[in-house]
């Protein structure tokens, strides 16, 4: 019984990070209608940024979060403003292709610049943990869960209550109407993609602390993010939290009770089922 509870705790803690990973993808998808296949690569770049800030400059990965997010924001802003906006009105698979091309470019560049070695960000408190009610909570996992939750809720509040958030939602609902009300879509699209990239950067920073980074993690992470975004729905950041936690729980419970080789069957099977039965996501409104 203790094992079950421990697995659930681990799943919950990992689920927070999963939600943060998928948050940027869901935001960009919902607003720009771009399914960003390079999202996982952006997470990977965020991980490397945090890794080098920590090993070269000694900046703690949790303190480095704003820096990493800023770097990725600039990268995302430039990408959308000067590359992706050129094909904004192309057929759908062209956006898939161009982001896949970017994914390849980032992966190869990372391999050339950072080598293919496994990297882990290892702060002094990495091995410590807290014990409550006989359950173990690793410190870094706990921290990263808290940070992920703060960022997700923060994004939600920003979308609801700030001028930029309202402009982003307006653009997502109706581009021409938003334009008539004085929103500059180029600016808003670039900002949104930048925010999405910054969130990916934050996720990469935390991922580097709790797991390992290589240049090749991008594709797997993108696939996971899809699953989370679809399960949770694109409308609401809180849905992404539900999606992230659900996916992490499904993965860890399948690994425990069915076998580690069935993890992908379960997680992607749930994704297909959700798509077929409720394409708007578990929490999405019915049309």
């Amino acid at each position: 019984m203790d094992l079950l509870f421990q697995v659930i705790v681990n799943g919950l803690l990992l689920g927070g990070l999963y939600a943060l990973m998928a948050l940027g993808l869901a935001l960009v998808w919902g607003v720009l209608n771009i399914v960003n296949l390079a999202h996982g690569a952006l997470i990977m770049l965020g991980g490397y940024a945090a890794y080098y800030l920590f090993t070269l400059l000694g900046i703690d990965p949790f303190l480095a979060l704003p820096l990493v997010m800023m770097m990725l924001f600039v990268l995302g802003y430039i990408l959308q403003r000067y590359v992706l906006s050129l094909i904004a009105r192309s057929p759908m698979f062209n956006t898939l292709l161009i982001t896949f091309g970017l994914d390849v470019i980032f992966m190869v560049l990372a391999q050339l610049l950072f080598t293919a070695d496994f990297r882990t960000i290892n702060p002094s408190y990495a091995g410590t943990h807290v014990t409550w009610f006989n359950l173990t909570f690793p410190t870094v996992q706990l921290f990263s869960f808290a940070v992920a939750m703060c960022l997700t809720v923060g994004l939600w509040l920003m979308m609801l209550h700030t001028r930029i958030g309202r402009a982003i939602r307006a653009t997502a609902q109706n581009l021409s109407a938003a334009r008539l009300y004085g929103v500059n879509p180029k600016q808003i699209y670039a900002l949104t993609f930048g925010i999405g990239a910054a969130l990916a950067g934050a996720a990469g920073d935390l991922y580097g602390v709790v797991s390992q980074i290589t240049p090749y993690i991008g594709a797997t992470l993108t696939a996971k993010c899809f699953a989370i975004a679809i399960i949770g729905g694109l409308e609401n950041p809180l849905g992404v939290i539900v999606g992230g936690v659900l996916l992490a729980l499904i993965e860890s419970l399948t690994a425990l009770y069915v076998g580690p080789t069935f993890v992908d069957v379960a997680s992607f099977g749930v994704l297909v089922l959700v798509l077929i039965i409720r394409p708007q996501g578990l929490l999405g409104k019915t049309a």
Binding site: A223, F226, V272, P279
Partner: protein, 315 residues
């Protein structure tokens, strides 16, 4: 030009048929691979180019075809041809069973559902005893590149002829109508569900045959290589680079891109993949309708063709 094209194609086909007796073994092996990719791109063209459904699930059919041949030959000691048929039967069943629910989804949702399905299939096969689990299966060795070459060439010719028929048949026009506006197509009396499922099945048959031939040629398959997602991405890139929805576009795209990546990877492998990424990005920006469209329009408009494309598609 229009009247010369069939003659030109027949000459090219003649040269290609004779290739194993003219060229060296390296070139033939490269050609087998390129022909397989061209067949896959042509198969994707039916569902992606004509019907406009960006399928990431064609590698499922490739995998089913590979495993059909592998299981038939290794576990049941059946001949190669029977294995191909088994693979095709499984692919058709899969396309009919999964096509109906999945093809209801549109746009990105369809793309992701098929992508997820291919991951599920890969994971299922890595747990099947009869398919050799994660380790895969080793097929009997047949050292005859000429045979595999002619088989691949024949398959590509059949696939291309099918697409040619498609481009001037009622069925093909129905698919194009679905791509342009599915609701309008339905209200004009196109049975969209049946058309889409048939297109998916047709694409599946060609991918499955290509997979079967490839498995016997390469003599080893495992779940990762059989349901390889990057193979699916490759066929999309080749079809879109060449010209989705055209007859010869995917073939030209596949031939050009495999030649480029082969030439580059023999010199500098990591720079080759970097170049591949850059080519995709630039091609999508400058010629979103593919090489065939560029070839037809570029002589008329010149460099303005590229500027026009950017103007038309930018925000």
């Amino acid at each position: 030009m229009k009247r010369l094209l069939p003659l030109l194609l027949i000459i090219i086909l003649g040269v290609l048929t004779a290739l194993p007796w003219i060229a060296g073994p390296t070139l033939v092996q490269f050609a087998i691979n390129a022909l397989m990719l061209a067949t896959l791109a042509q198969g994707w063209n039916i569902i992606g180019g004509f019907a406009g459904y960006a399928s990431f699930g064609n590698s499922i059919f490739f995998g089913l075809g590979s495993y059909g041949v592998a299981i038939a030959m290794v576990q049941w000691n059946l001949p190669f041809g029977v294995g191909l048929v088994i693979g095709v039967v499984f692919s058709v069943l899969f396309a009919l069973a999964m096509g109906v629910p999945v093809l209801r989804l549109r746009g990105h949702y369809f793309a992701i559902a098929t992508l997820a399905l291919s991951q599920v299939m890969s994971a299922i096969f890595s747990n099947l005893d009869i398919a050799g689990r994660n380790i895969g299966l080793v097929l009997p060795l047949l050292r005859s590149d000429t045979l595999f070459y002619e088989l691949s060439l024949g398959l590509l010719v059949i696939a291309t002829l099918t697409v040619f028929w498609l481009s001037r048949s009622r069925f093909g026009f129905g698919l194009i109508a679905i791509r342009e506006n599915e609701d309008a197509a339905q209200s004009m009396g196109v049975n969209t569900t049946r058309y889409k499922v048939l297109a998916f099945t047709l694409a599946g048959i060609f991918s499955s045959l290509a997979g079967g031939i490839h498995a016997y040629w390469i003599t080893f398959i495992d779940p990762n290589s059989a349901f390889d997602l990057s193979l699916n991405v490759k066929m999309i890139i080749m079809a879109v680079f060449g010209g989705p929805g055209s007859v010869l576009g995917p073939v030209i795209g596949a031939a050009l891109l495999s030649a480029i990546s082969e030439l580059l990877s023999s010199t500098l492998s990591s720079v080759a993949s970097l170049f591949f990424g850059v080519v995709i990005v630039i091609a999508v920006i400058l010629m979103p309708k593919g090489l065939t469209d560029c070839w037809l329009r570029f002589p008329v408009t010149g460099w303005r063709y590229f500027i026009h494309n950017i103007r038309q598609h930018r925000l």
